[in-house]
Subunit: 256 residues, 2 copies
DNA sequence: CCAAAAGTGTTTAAAATACACCCATGC
DNA sequence: GCATGGGTGTATTTTAAACACTTTTGG
């Protein structure tokens, strides 16, 4: 969406291009400064935040729509993506779009497909924070990361969607390795532990954590150490991609 | 759907009543004779089986639609229901509906909303086999239980949907008690074990299984024994509803 | 009396947990 | 030299796994 004309065309004729009544919302997780982050959009024409989302092109695979939307907002194509729930309450979008129409100078008597009811398919994505280029557009004045614990009240039912995504992520971390998608290529065990602690929302014992995570055999310890701060430098690790993929496929079982 | 007139009205004007492009498919699991069963519909006008499904009324909560559909097919209202995945491949319904239209004597040049692309929300349900009244209708000549291992090739992508439902169920059984929904009120430990073995698709040790399941403290052993066959009679158990609900909420962790 | 299935407990192995001291670094 | 955070191993407890004999019942 790059201009007012685009927007008007979208309001009036969007349903020729997109499947009506159906939307996609993406909860994009990143990890930075030992904090779990979510990428949100600040709307320009009305006051409020929302998840990045979009619609499914007629003829497009739903999963491909999610990848397309993620590409638009992050610039990334290789992304870990997981469908987690579909949201279908009849009043879930409230009247935010009517307000948007008013604020954008669109005739509110117009009968737009956008004012119909929408069912939204929720996907969460795990991305390398450092590689993301948050990208706003004509409709959104900002695209920015928020701490998972400092998420503002959002439009529609998007706070609920984030809650559910986090719940799914928490569940997933017991059965899959996840670090490959959220951390940069080279990272330290303390960082990885912080990632686990943030997602699980609890403290873990350092020694037991290392024992468990190393016993999976999916990590390579590099010669290098990371020089950070007035203390001993931690070792740098990277994932062994093959063994990581194998663990993903087989499934693992953490206890924590 | 009770008559040809109903059907024609549905084809032509269904989208006034229902949300277009969106459907619901239900994988209804039951347990009988120590076998896991799924309730399927045999179509009357064309040859083929499918999952029971339906559409979302405009204004209706999606979850309520699933309950409504389940009520129609089983007669039951109190059902354990779980959304598990949404299916959105563009060609997922194939050309089965065109064939149905032809076989039903509907003009195939008609532009029906039903011939559009559909995205389907998958729910699985767990029901007490003995309480279900499988109900067919004008479109379906049969509504019948099938062994999970003897499911015929189905219309649309319904075989894939059953696979995914089973995968989700398998996953769930490691974290929740499930027997309350699938077994009759009074049952034996061997029955319960068979249920677990069927869902997990593996044999379990009798003694270890009983230790584990009893240690949850959600079962009551009744005085009674069940007299079945030329051998020792097993004890009858029932669930302690309160403790069962608590275990559901807390979540449990089975290892098997 | 025989076949078929259910009841029951102990021993062993594996996994999770709890826990403390020393080391490297920057200021 | 001191504060901060990282590296490392062992002992204990808990949990899972392996395993066999006796009892009941119908035919």
């Amino acid at each position: 969406m790059e201009s007012e004309d685009d927007f008007k065309e979208f309001i009036i004729n969007g349903d020729k291009k997109f499947v009506p009544h159906l939307s996609i919302d993406c909860v994009i997780f990143g990890f930075h400064n030992n904090l779990l982050k979510v990428l949100l959009l600040k709307w320009g024409k009305i006051d409020g935040w929302s998840l990045p989302g979009g619609h499914v092109l007629r003829g497009e695979n739903v999963e491909d729509s999610a990848y397309r939307i993620l590409k638009e907002r992050t610039g990334l194509t290789e992304i870990y993506l997981q469908q987690f729930k579909t949201f279908g309450k009849p009043k879930r979008t409230g009247n935010a779009l009517e307000l948007l129409f008013k604020s954008s100078g669109v005739n509110t008597n117009i009968k737009s497909w956008l004012l119909d009811r929408f069912i939204s398919i929720g996907y969460y994505a795990l991305v390398d924070f450092s590689k993301v280029m948050p990208t706003a557009d004509w409709l959104s004045e900002k695209c920015a990361w928020h701490d998972i614990n400092k998420i503002p009240p959002m439009l529609f039912d998007h706070n609920e969607i984030v809650e559910e995504a986090l719940k799914s992520l928490k569940f997933a971390i017991y059965h899959q390795p996840l670090g490959y998608n959220l951390l940069p290529e080279r990272f330290t065990l303390p960082q990885l532990q912080k990632m686990y602690e943030t997602i699980l929302n609890k403290k873990l014992d350092r020694r037991n954590f290392q024992k468990k995570i190393l016993s999976l055999g999916i990590l390579n310890r590099l010669e290098e150490r990371m020089k950070i701060g007035p203390h001993r430098s931690p070792f740098v690790y990277s994932y062994n991609k093959e063994k990581y993929e194998a663990a993903l496929k087989e499934g693992i079982s953490f206890s924590f």
